[in-house]
Symmetry: C3
């Protein structure tokens, strides 16, 4: 009896100390699946990374500066669990795939009553809310819009950026970010990426409007993305939906240039039991191409099941299918089926 209470006190003391002294937290997510990937006419049997979410690990920390002010940092690396390699990310200003040690996030900043400011490389506000209306558990391989939406090719981590987000005002919040291309030459101005969102969340309803404009250099026209994501939780099932447009956008699947695209997706999260959830949906994209070319249409659907062995370890299975059609061109089909495991630490 005596010993028990001592133990309890000791644990409290340790917990308190840990939060006071610990200045860095290590965290991560490892997601691997076994399956079959069909890309056009070619089908591969694979062990791949990131069926539900991209694999990652990171260091993060928060320092209390007093008066509600905090200093924050995140260093987050992406990697492929099937190869051990750093995940490559597109540099939006050079259009080159680059491999960075911390390919996901590196920033330092301050937060307080005024909101939060970040300096470095962070997710764009457009990206922050993009998956919120998607079925398939966080919009990776099994999401309906995979290989369907043109807007999948937006730049999520341009870097060289300043970010500001507001505090939460009665469920409303907003964020804005600007990235500097740092690629001005004697004759051409620097490119830039601006991104913003406005979000509302209260009770069963969540909705977010987001916008992003991208110029790789000052000499080229901007590509513009607009999107509305929403969800409504009925308890027995959660309704998901998103609508978006792109302008001057080339396609992620083919090399056909699309001048304007309209796209949407609808889906459901269905909690079958406390440990098993089904999620599925349908997505569509319709776009005009360069002057004179026929319309390009893509449709897709995805369904996935998630079994929670624990809060940190999940098993999953899923299927996703995408189809592309354009008058005068052969249809193209892409699909993925797989079973996998996701573990967080």
């Amino acid at each position: 009896m005596m010993k028990k209470s001592l133990v309890a006190v000791a644990v409290m003391a340790v917990s308190g100390m840990a939060s006071a002294q610990s200045t860095v937290t290590i965290y991560g997510l490892i997601d691997a699946y076994f399956g079959s990937v069909k890309s056009g006419t070619l089908t591969q049997t694979v062990v791949n990374s990131g069926g539900l979410q991209s694999s990652r690990f990171g260091f993060k920390g928060t320092e209390d500066l007093g008066g509600g002010l905090k200093a924050n940092f995140v260093l987050e690396a992406g990697f492929n669990v099937d190869t051990g390699a750093s995940r490559a990310y597109d540099n939006p200003y050079t259009n080159a795939a680059t491999t960075a040690m911390f390919g996901r996030q590196t920033f330092v900043g301050l937060s307080g009553g005024f909101g939060e400011v970040k300096l470095g490389k962070m997710w764009t506000p457009f990206d922050e809310v993009k998956g919120s209306g998607a079925a398939g558990f966080d919009a990776n391989v099994f999401a309906p819009a995979t290989n369907v939406w043109s807007s999948n090719s937006y730049s999520d981590l341009p870097g060289n950026a300043i970010y500001y987000s507001t505090p939460n005002f009665s469920g409303f919040s907003a964020a804005v970010m600007h990235s500097f291309g740092e690629n001005k030459t004697a004759t051409v101005g620097a490119g830039s990426i601006s991104s913003m969102n406005v979000a509302y969340s209260a009770g069963p309803l969540a909705a977010a409007l987001s916008y992003q404009t991208q110029k790789s250099t000052g000499a080229v026209a901007a590509t513009k993305y607009t999107q509305l994501n929403g969800s409504y939780d009925l308890g027995v099932v959660k309704l998901l939906g998103a609508y978006g447009t792109t302008k001057n956008q080339s396609s992620p699947v083919t090399t056909l240039a699309q001048e304007k695209t309209k796209e949407y997706q609808l889906g459901l999260d269905f909690p079958v039991s406390s440990t098993f959830t089904l999620s599925g949906g349908y997505a569509r994209s319709k776009g005009t191409r360069a002057a004179g070319a026929s319309e390009l249409k893509r449709t897709g659907y995805g369904i996935a099941g998630l079994y929670a062995m624990s809060k940190r370890t999940n098993l999953y299975a899923g299927y996703q299918n995408a189809k592309e059609t354009a008058a005068g061109l052969a249809d193209r089909k892409d699909s993925t089926v797989g079973v996998g495991v996701r573990h967080t630490f």
Copy 2:
């Protein structure tokens, strides 16, 4: 007296908590030596990495899922302590040296009464038992078979893999792994690597039989490795031995193609005192080459001494020598001498 018991309880409490809350362990090994490396006719004075074992660091963790079931992960990076660079590993499907952030291991899996399943990139079962009959402390620079055995060029970490190992049955255990090349084209099937071992360990005796077959693409013939490793601990000295064959194997030292190779090594671990151990041995490889070419023969020996300053910090010195002869070709000699330090954390 009172304080002491409180301290003891507190430490217990903390230990308990740590094992419950800690979800990631950081570990590593740093091995550097100063020496001289002779490669053919050229001798360099060097500070090199990995005299005894490759330098590495990693994150690993285990989550108890209840009922004997556990979720496990490992993220392990290799690096050269002399340059700070990630260690490059051969991609067996592209034959390109690739540098991966986690170049040694990245997997997630489950273990329990049924054994262990892993998904990702892990050591092949052939690799897991390969060094068990080698002198020179874990088969790196000073092992007799270095620059001698053709089978050194097997692929130890192909990635894109599924792995299963059995539980231990009265000293017996077995493991099997399959790696998918994921490189199918319209005309050629995907490559693959399959690997397996059966091991026995009880009292002074340990023995392991292993087999690995490799195809870089579906169009090429497989390279096949078979090996028997064993050791017997007499107390005053530990006897070590290994025998292996390869088929359709090209050499690690020269560009001569070997069609078939037979190779063996014999060695001793001799504990001079509780803190000082000597290890040495002899290795030989004999192989036929492409039709009509003469036989290729390589012999080598290595000796090393290890002084344990602590369990975690060791000093070592070693020498290894390899010689290659083939009728009609000039002999080739390779050797390394060095003194170094190995530290684990």
Copy 3:
């Protein structure tokens, strides 16, 4: 009352255990600034990394071996917080920019009454004392000598190295390092880098003399750097100064070869309050070029202010300007202005 004392004991117990069991410490520094960089005729608006100090994270550890002897290791990575990429470092033997996972330091070694020995990749003794006479807070972007001194191009981390430093003798200490090029060929000997310093520090006075000689291969003439750095703390202000020479040195800013250079800098650290410090100074470099060419002259100044929000989080602002002139050539100007944040963990 009882609870409080238990807590105190528990914390003590935990602290003691932590220092006994912890074998690795994670640490880092993240420094990002927003500003404008003028390089010759081109000006970019930027979010950059390392206004005051290069961003980094690392693992380090020390094991007590008894009798005053310790085993030590450091694995330190450099990265750019604006892109997440590993920072590239010049390989002095290949003149190629290389990206290493641990691009800053990787070594293992022993320390004790005899001093310290390191094996691997570590800062040269020349580098260790180079910034000690520089204004601008550790000689990065806002230091007066940035884009001014020819000696900025010395190799700070050649790798393949052995290092020894003495203990402190009444304020005196010294260090020496040798790096092996490991690039001998059949016709040309290996390159090498040797570096050393002698330092004195007592009361308000600190001074250090340092020397470094570099040969990329055995066939080329050595480049030689000599430098004297010093500071004197008057309390109300700290005086800073440095004088150096280079021989056979090519310039960091232009491609003009300089045969011999003499350079100096003078500066002040002025603690305005307990949380705000100003630092500024002036630097100059004058060099002969290849036979017959005119003299090359560069001058620069820098000023920066540092506000300490806490010991670990600082805000800063700074400006630095450099000008290069040579008879018969157009003048060149470089400058940087920026505001940023530095956070350590």
